[in-house]
Symmetry: D2
Subunit: 138 residues, 4 copies
C-alpha cells in the first residue's frame, strides 16, 4: 500500500529549512490530475514596503517554485530540481493569505512542466508561474 | 548635487521588510553602465535540505529579483515593479556567499530589461536570471 | 459604430508580408474576453524534417507570437510590439492543421499579458506560450 | 577522424524544409566553447509591415531557436528538441542581415542551456534569447 500524495507532500514540504521559515501549507492534492493547492499565511517579513501590505515579488517567486515542485514531486515521489522558472506579476499581492494552485502540464521521463496560479484572499489572480523540473532519477 | 547611485541603492535596499530578513548587500554599482553587484551571506534558513549546504531555488529567484530591480532602480531612481522574471538553475548553489551581478540590457521609458548572473563563492555560475521591470512613473 | 474585433483582426492579420507567407487565419474572436482562435494550415515548408510531418519549433513560436499579438491588438485596436515571448514545447506537432487559442490575462495601460495554447488537429496540446506586449500608444 | 562541428552543423542546418525557406547560414563555430554564429539575409517576406523594413518577431524567434539548437547540437552531434524558448525583443530589427550568436551556458546529460544574441547589420543588439534543449539520446 502506497503513501498518499498528500502525506508524501506534507512530509517533504516540511523538511527544507527555508520552508520552515516561509511555512507554505498544502491544502489539497488531486492524485488523478496531480494538481496541488498550497496556501501561504502572509507575515510582515514577506513585505516589499514597510508601510503597505504588499508581498515582495521574491516571496511570490519562491512560493511558485515550491508549488510547482510539489505538483511534479507528488507525481514522481522524489525531489525534482528546478530547471527553469518564469513568473509574471499581474497585480500587487496584498491580503492575509496567498494561494498557489499548481497543475502539471506534462510529466515526462526527464522533465515535468507545471503551471502555477497565485491568487490573493479575494481570489484575485496576482501572478502566474510556469516551471520546468527535472524528473530524472539517478 | 545628486545622490550617488550607490547610496540611493543602499538606502532603498534596506527598506523592504523582506530584505531585512534576507539581507542582500550592495557591493558595487557602476553609474556608467548601471551594472550592480550584490552579495548574500548564506544562512541555514536559506537551504533546501537539512543535511546539505544547498541554497533553495526560491531564495535564488528572490535574490535575482532584488538584484535586477537594483540595476534598473539605480538608473531611474524610483521603485520599478517587476513585470516578469525568469530564472535558469544551472548547478546546486553551495558555499557561504552568493554573488549576483545585474546588468541593464535596455532601459526605456516604460520598461527595463536586465540580465543577472549568480555565482557561488568559488565564482562558479549557478543561475542565470532575466527580468523585465516597469520604469514608468505615475 | 465601431468595427468588430473580428474584422479589425482579419484586416490587420492580412497586412504583414510574413503573414502572407505563413497564412495564419482567424476563426474566432470573443469581444467580451478578448480570446481569439487562429488556425494554421501546415505546409511542407513548415517542417523540421524532410521525412516526418513535424512542424518546426520556429513556426510554432511565430504562430504563438501572432496569436498573442492578436489577443491584445483586438482589445486595444492598434499594433502592440512584443516585449517578450516564452514557448514551452510539449510534444512534436504533427497533422494538417494547428490551432492557437490566445487569451488575455491582463491588459493594462502599458503592457498586456497573454496565454496561448497550441493544439494539433487531434486537439492534443503541443505547446504553451506566454507573451508580454506593449499596449502604450505614442 | 571526426567530422568538424562546422561541417556537421552546415549539413544539419540544410536539411529542415523550413530552413530551406528561411536560409539561416552558419558562419562560425568554435569547437572549444561551442559558440556558433549564424547570419540571416533579410527578405521581404520576413517583414512585419509592408511599408517598413522591420523583421517580424516570429522570424526572430525562429532564428533564435535555430541558432540555440545549433550551439547544442554542434556539441552533442545529434538533434536536440527544444524544451523551452524565451525571447526578449529590445528594438525593431531592420537592415539587410541579422546575426545570431549562440553560446552554450551548460551542456548536461539531459538538457543544454543556451544564450542567444541577435544583432542587426549595424551590430546593434535587437533581441536576446535563451533556450533549454533536450540533449538526451534514445
Amino acid at each position: 500500500m502506497t503513501e498518499s500524495a498528500i502525506s508524501y507532500l506534507r512530509r517533504s514540504l516540511a523538511l527544507p529549512p527555508f520552508h520552515q521559515w516561509l511555512r507554505p501549507e498544502l491544502v489539497e492534492a488531486d492524485e488523478a490530475t496531480g494538481k496541488v493547492t498550497l496556501v501561504l499565511a502572509v507575515r510582515p517579513e514577506f513585505l516589499r514596503d514597510p508601510d503597505r501590505p504588499e508581498v515582495h515579488g521574491g516571496i511570490i517567486a519562491a512560493f511558485i517554485d515550491i508549488a510547482g515542485h510539489a505538483a511534479v514531486a507528488g507525481n514522481v515521489r522524489h525531489g525534482v530540481p528546478t530547471i527553469d522558472l518564469r513568473v509574471d506579476y499581474l497585480r500587487m499581492a496584498s491580503g492575509a493569505v496567498l494561494k498557489a494552485t499548481a497543475e502539471p502540464v506534462r510529466i515526462g521521463r526527464t522533465i515535468g512542466v507545471v503551471d502555477v496560479r497565485v491568487t490573493d484572499d479575494k481570489d484575485v489572480l496576482v501572478a502566474l508561474g510556469r516551471g520546468v523540473f527535472s524528473t530524472r532519477t539517478g
